[in-house]
């Protein structure tokens, strides 16, 4: 029949639709390569360039003032401890509040007006630029000297970081608790547990791995933030030696990178690269760890 020779069922690569299909596939593959390229470039530069400046002294010493010594800029020790301390302060504030808020949203008011408003609010808070958190803390804590008369301090820096962590923790706690099957709640009530016992002994442990994923991701984001710290914690070249030092300026890896990258001295720039190496390694580890923990839980998102 003539019909079959005209409209063959075999694949014909020169048809317009097949050419169009192929070219669009190639374009999307190209886009994917372009999107991955920055990660590979940034990571390899940070690892190679930053890694080459890492040695024991760099990790331990205090940074020296720019321009004092053109050959060596000291180390990033105080910045590492500063980042850890401010991360801990931010976690102490934001984890209880965030998990508590998430418990309220998921366990007490699933779709009430107030819960809707809080969900909306935490989405909006997540979208507030990080520098605004810094400006806010500057206005209410630093410029008013409300913390026992201290101005720029590690505590103020930690508080401003906690504002950034809060929405992420609330959201992940809310979502993690919602994935816990209602049967478990009913079973707990059925054997006579109070709501408090049900939440603390049944649903929170069941959602633990998903919640820790969110907490780790929030912490990773906070540890890399610079903008909220540049006028709350400022920067310091010295190790903290006592509890009182929390109320004074505190250095951090991210602010060290910002300050030293813009210095005209080679030694300081190298220190910025070394600090980026440590920061990126820590943040990538936190991210990969949180992914791994996320796959452990019985009701984690990755399994459902």
């Amino acid at each position: 029949m003539n019909y079959t020779s005209q409209k063959s069922l075999t694949y014909n690569p020169s048809l317009t639709r097949n050419i169009g299909n192929k070219s669009l596939t190639i374009i999307s593959a190209l886009f994917a390569i372009i999107s991955v390229l920055p990660l590979i470039l940034v990571i390899s530069y940070v690892l190679i360039k930053g890694g080459s400046y890492i040695n024991f002294d760099t990790l331990i010493l205090e940074p020296e003032p720019p321009g004092d010594d053109l050959l060596s800029a000291g180390g990033i020790g105080p910045a590492i401890t500063g980042t850890i301390i401010m991360g801990v302060i931010a976690s102490i504030i934001s984890i209880p509040i965030g998990v508590g808020g998430g418990i309220y949203l998921a366990e007490y008011s699933k779709s009430g007006k107030f819960a809707k408003f809080i969900r909306f609010g935490s989405n909006v808070l997540a979208g507030v630029p990080s520098i605004i958190a810094g400006v806010f803390i500057y206005a209410i804590i630093v410029s008013t000297k409300i913390l026992f008369g201290s101005m720029f301090s590690g505590i103020a820096g930690g508080i401003s970081l906690s504002i950034l962590m809060l929405p992420t923790i609330i959201k992940t706690t809310d979502e993690a608790l919602k994935l816990v099957p209602n049967d478990m709640r009913r079973a707990a009530f059925g054997v006579g547990a109070s709501k408090f016992t049900m939440i603390t002994n049944i649903t929170l442990p069941a959602a633990f791995s998903s919640i820790s994923t969110g907490v780790l991701l929030a912490l990773a984001r906070a540890a890399g933030e610079t903008a909220p710290l540049i006028f709350t914690a400022l920067f310091s070249r010295y190790y903290i030696t006592s509890f009182d030092d929390l109320f004074y300026e505190m250095g951090s890896l991210s602010v060290l990178i910002y300050n030293f990258a813009l210095e005209p001295y080679e030694a300081q720039n190298q220190l910025a690269w070394a600090a980026s190496f440590i920061l990126v390694i820590v943040l990538l580890t936190l991210n990969i760890l949180s992914r791994w923990i996320g796959t452990l839980g019985a009701f984690s998102k990755n399994k459902v």
Binding site: I27, F196, I230
Partner: protein, 317 residues
């Protein structure tokens, strides 16, 4: 039955302490949830309160003047507002095709799944790189690398106002490119998630009536996922407008208005990062005014994003 046996089967009544713990716990978590609202409102209230002096002095003139002179106390944020809007929208225009294209590539069954998953994870890890590290990379590696290419554009198209100054280092164009790197992961991962949620029945139906792969993607899959994609794009826009560190390090920080994308410029957030530490008096209040404008802009974008996701999302049973 004697008393001992009946008491065994009596219903246990809750002790008052247990009830109090229950009520107390509820009150505590309600208070914690309210903290979100408290923080959000106080951020607005504080930024507004601190900027009232400048708002009453300059009014809307602040938005259209590019004067920034602490000596004569004359302030206007036009350059910074223009810079914020221009850099974020330009970076979005570059990042949308890249991000959505990547998302399609890693949700379609084109190459083996483990490669697609690897690409997906790599793009998401890009979001984990702090912006100050991207800034460092942009200053020392990217900007020197792209400068010759920008120079070629300047020599060929210098008569167009957008390319009319010679690229000499920091400027708007490198800032746009680093913003693209920062918002790509957001667009890609949210588009990927919403593309994955499109029911496979829609795809099978399209294939069944003879549609090719890309006809299916363009006419069926993308329209079905458009709410998530739009939401992701708007979220990325909000992030780009508020992004501070990388932009501050590479945009050149100049308040002189220029049409050229090769000239140094300003964004609101980089202006804050640069000047807030040393500012006093009416300059603080003017910076707070700029911060308020930035907050309102990002708030509008975020609320619009949430609204559009609700409005456009198709419900599949």
């Amino acid at each position: 039955m004697d008393k001992a046996t009946t008491s065994k089967f009596l219903l246990r009544t809750r002790p008052t302490s247990e009830k109090m713990i229950d009520v107390g716990f509820k009150n505590i978590v309600v208070a914690m949830a309210s903290m979100v609202a408290v923080v959000l409102f106080s951020i607005f209230a504080v930024v507004y309160y601190e900027s009232t002096e400048s708002i009453s002095r300059y009014g809307l003139r602040f938005l259209f003047s590019s004067a920034w002179n602490p000596v004569t106390d004359e302030y206007g944020a036009f350059t910074a507002i223009y810079g914020t809007l221009f850099t974020s929208i330009a970076s979005l225009l570059i990042a949308i095709p890249l991000g959505v294209g990547t998302a399609i590539f890693i949700t379609e069954n084109i190459i083996p799944e483990y490669i697609r998953n690897t690409i997906g994870i790599m793009v998401e890890l890009l979001a984990a790189i702090p912006s100050v590290v991207l800034g460092l990379w942009a200053v020392f590696i990217m900007e020197p690398f792209i400068r010759p290419f920008l120079n070629i554009i300047y020599e060929l198209f210098g008569f167009i106002p957008f390319f009319s100054t010679q690229p000499l280092g920091a400027g708007m164009m490198p800032a746009i490119l680093i913003l693209v790197v920062m918002i790509l992961p957001i667009i890609t991962s949210i588009s990927k998630d919403s593309l994955k949620q499109v029911p496979s029945k829609l795809r099978q139906a399209a294939y069944g009536i003879g549609a090719s792969r890309w006809t299916t993607i363009i006419k069926v899959i993308i329209p079905a996922a458009i709410s998530g994609i739009t939401g992701g794009v708007l979220l990325a826009l909000g992030r780009a407008m508020g992004e501070t560190m990388a932009v501050t390090m590479i945009i050149g920080n100049s308040n002189n208005f220029s049409w050229s994308i090769f000239a140094p410029s300003y964004t609101i957030s980089s202006m804050l990062a640069n000047q807030f530490g040393e500012a006093d008096g009416s300059q603080v209040s003017s910076l707070m005014y700029a911060a308020l404008i930035l907050m309102i802009l990002t708030l509008l974008v975020n609320v619009f994003a949430q609204w559009i996701v609700k409005k456009l999302s198709l419900k599949y049973q």
